[in-house]
Symmetry: C2
Subunit: 196 residues, 2 copies
DNA sequence: ATGAATTAATACAGAGACTGTAGTCAGTAT
DNA sequence: ATACTGACTACAGTCTCTGTATTAATTCAT
């Protein structure tokens, strides 16, 4: 997509990446709470102040790429094919997020930590909430006659709530990625039944 | 219920109440972020350290009585009348929480602040999540043949997600308590349709 | 090419939330 | 009366996060 940016921008991305990698490594080693921002900055060979130029808070270094997936769902909604009903759109949109939610090492670490570190959990939930608002708006636009604004919010909340709750339950039970994915899919199906 | 506790315990509750009242007053005056824990403690005439003996974090002084309502819903689930179906239990349980969610001044302030102060929002969401786990477990016990553990989690997540999302949407739109309550009820009805 | 404007990164200082620890004093039990 | 418990305090310290001024490197304009 976009490759040729100035040297300045490339350098910036490099320190950002260095911070993320240092953080992940340290978190895996010592656990989230036992790693200070100063340590992360040190490991990435920048000043502690620089950390906060890249991330608004310590938690966000782990949630760095979590926004991208919301865009996928939004796209899935707006690209609604004609004749496609509400339940189908719902399933397709969340499918986008679910499939892409479990790629890579970082996602696994994030899930593990989010399930155990309260402050991280809180920030993640908050992200979901702001994502919900966007999704609800998109849904409302896609089905203006069927869903008023409030109902669209309720429906979106139901989907996100169901998916994350079942994923968390599966995680706590010790399930692997495939089983977690299945649990999420079942949750979507459950809610989709409400608007069938 | 329980009235006759020792003088020591009564004193403790008095300082706790003093802290809550001081906090609410100050928050209304200056806004959440512009009030320090030290100020609250000062207004309640205790040491700053004492604040943290009563509340694990600054946010929790506002969420002090939020737990009580979860008990009501749990009770509603376990007191399931024979012949009562899953949707009915769902509606009745959440009705307990909704009705009692909007009494008093404190609830209104809490809602207003939770909608605007990120850190408070995060903590509130976190509470919902832990409440969800309990509710899901109770549901699973009440309908062991119909709901496995994961599905119960999904269903509970859907209800809580739908209710809080629609309430938040209504709040943001500037609706009053009655309209918010209606929005919540509709959200429950929506999800209940999925298990009808 | 050279001077001017940006800007990522830095050093430094400080606010504010929270914790550990040791001590005091009032309430409680024997 | 005596010993014990537990709420509260004082003090010192850690850590996250912010404001401000400065530096040095990249980018842009001439």
């Amino acid at each position: 997509m976009t490759e040729k940016q100035g040297l300045r921008e490339r350098k910036k991305q490099r320190t950002r990446q260095a911070l993320i990698e240092a953080a992940v490594r340290l978190f895996e080693d010592k656990g989230y709470d036992d790693v200070t921002v100063a340590e992360i900055a040190d490991a990435a060979e920048v000043s502690p102040r620089t950390f906060f130029l890249h991330f608004p808070a310590k938690e966000d270094v782990l949630l760095a790429d979590a926004d991208v997936r919301v865009d996928l769902a939004l796209q899935a909604i707006s690209e609604r094919r004609d004749r496609e009903g509400l339940p189908e759109v719902l399933v397709r949109a969340t499918e986008q997020m679910i499939v892409n939610a479990w790629d890579g090492e970082l996602a696994a670490l994030r899930a593990r930590l989010a399930a155990s570190v309260p402050t991280l959990q809180a920030r993640l939930l908050q992200r979901y909430l702001t994502a919900q608002a966007e999704l609800a708006q998109a849904l409302h636009r896609a089905f203006p006659d069927r869903l008023d604004a409030i109902t669209a919010s309720a429906l979106t909340g139901a989907v996100v709530g169901a998916v994350s709750a079942s994923a968390l339950a599966a995680l706590r039970r010790g399930d692997g990625p495939d089983e977690v994915r299945d649990a999420m899919r079942q949750a979507v199906a459950l809610v989709a039944r409400a608007v069938a």
